[in-house]
């Protein structure tokens, strides 16, 4: 594995996504207060913090599930207005969920094919006949899906309904579905939660390979500090909805506020 924060020379890339002064509240509960940070092209950006710090809320804001009351978000230099998740998807943002959200009744292939939805263009008419352009398109996308299946080493389970798969494999299929979208920005919400050491190492390898081979920018939330320090180029730390630190893994792990947040401060 790479040394922490070596950044393979991409940390200086242009800003892909900028979050500026975002605040989000649910009724009286403030989930996020005035948080700003950016994600640069080609990097692996980690968002960490204790439970309830607002990490998943942050991801949901980036993804368009939540609408912040204040602040603005610019993706590819374009400030976005109130937007819906499927618009975020069409702009090139893919994600996985903390508690795997797959289409449980469908096979691995169909789940990953669902990730190709936006790339498939033939009209309703041909779709109904499943002939001509629609069939060609189906075959072409199926090829791409097979590549992802090879990449994630899940050939053996391609026809199985995903509801029956063990958790670690479900997480992998979910990653596959997100990759099928060929995203510019990939959001991973605790990709290694509930995994054993071996599964974690596999997943780390996939994340690094995705980043290296496809140049996909990745933002991930993770609790395992070892993993975060190994994988990420830069880390943003949240606590109680506020940003308390931002920098390379080495910088944030030396930051007194971060240490206090994780270990507690004597009163």
């Amino acid at each position: 594995m790479r040394a922490p924060g070596d950044g393979h020379g991409t940390t200086a890339g242009e800003v892909l996504l900028a979050v500026e002064g975002v605040s989000l509240s649910f009724g009286g509960v403030k989930a996020i207060t005035d948080v700003s940070f950016d994600i640069r092209k080609g990097e692996i950006r980690a968002i960490i913090g204790p439970n309830g710090a607002g990490k998943t809320s942050m991801l949901n804001v980036i993804n368009g599930f939540y609408h912040p009351q204040q602040g603005r978000i610019a993706f590819k230099g374009e400030t976005r207005k109130r937007m819906r998740p499927y618009v975020a998807a069409s702009q090139g943002i893919a994600r996985t969920f903390q508690n795997v959200a797959l289409f449980k009744g469908m096979s691995t292939i169909d789940n990953i094919m669902a990730g190709r939805t936006l790339k498939m263009k033939t009209g309703f008419f041909w779709q109904c006949l499943r002939h001509g352009p629609a069939l060609n398109e189906e075959i072409e996308h199926r090829k791409f899906v097979e590549e992802i299946i090879d990449f994630l080493e899940i050939q053996a389970i391609r026809k199985m309904p995903v509801g029956k798969l063990p958790y670690g494999l479900q997480k992998r299929v979910e990653l596959g579905r997100a990759l099928a979208m060929q995203p510019d920005l990939l959001l991973l919400d605790e990709p290694m939660a509930g995994m054993n050491l071996e599964e974690k190492e596999d997943m780390s390898r996939f994340i690094i390979d995705v980043n290296n081979q496809y140049g996909t920018t990745i933002a991930l939330i993770e609790h395992d500090m070892g993993v975060v320090m190994d994988l990420s180029d830069r880390v943003v730390v949240l606590e109680y909805g506020r940003k308390i630190a931002d920098g390379t893994p080495a910088e944030v792990s030396a930051d007194q506020k971060v240490i206090d947040a994780y270990l507690g401060v004597p009163h």
Binding site: A89, F97, A101, T117, T122, A134, R177
Partner: protein, 318 residues
Amino acid sequence: MDILYKVLIDPFVQMGAAPDLLVQTVWEGLVSGVLYALIALGFVLIFKASGVFNFAQGIMVVFAGLTLVGFHEMGVPAILAVILTLGVMFLLAVSVERVVLRPLVNQPDIILFMATFGITYLLIGFGELIFGGNPKRMIAEELYLPTGSIEFQTLGGFVQLQKIDIAAAVIAAIMIAALAFFFQTTRIGRALRAVADSHKAALSVGISLNQIWVIVWFTAGIVALVTGIMWGARSDVSFALQVIALKALPVLILGGFTSVPGAIVGGLIIGIGEKIGEFYWGPLVGGGIESWLAYFIALGFLLFRPQGLFGEKIIERI
């Protein structure tokens, strides 16, 4: 002992004694079963994709039938009238999505359910305003549906099959097969199944819920039109039909709310069970059990197998 004999043994003796009557009864049950299955199919489509129990499916059947007949009465040729009616059902799907579903997104299911009550009574009022309250004759001949019956001698008697019933069964089978094929193998079909499984995951891969809802309600509208034509051809098109549509409830409890094959098998079981029950056991209680037997069977299922024959058993992980 006498009553036990009448309930447990005598009906089967009768079945054995006159097999031609049994075949005739089963056939009639099968035909009404197909129509129940069609209505239930409309319910399942919408329930799967949006989690809404669409109380309005019954009135959609009536409304589609009346619109078709109404266009024809205005002098539109039959085939063109079908196309225009499909257009009306599409407009209905779009307006339901815009006016009802979109503003109510993320509301509890019961609210959406109540909203479909609203749609039901709106359509009843609207339909009566335009088409009047009188039953209308379905334009079966104009749509080239066969009339009359075929009879054949078998099992020591005559069995009579109405041609329209055979046509109904065939058309229903073709439509269900086409829907299954569409759902299984196309991008839109896959998107529909994806939405049925998980809204948030579907959104994250770029599927627009609004678009899917329009497609689903339109598909349910097409199913409603076919049901309206078939059912109308056997009797009339009238608002009374929507009460019969409530028979889809026991069908769904039997088959499972989320299963298309369940809707079909459930419909057939209820249809056949009803007719056989009425014919062989009905006289014991003075007849009329056809109207409640379906609900009775459904009650039994609720007690012992609440997810239905094909529904998903919901196991909550704690």
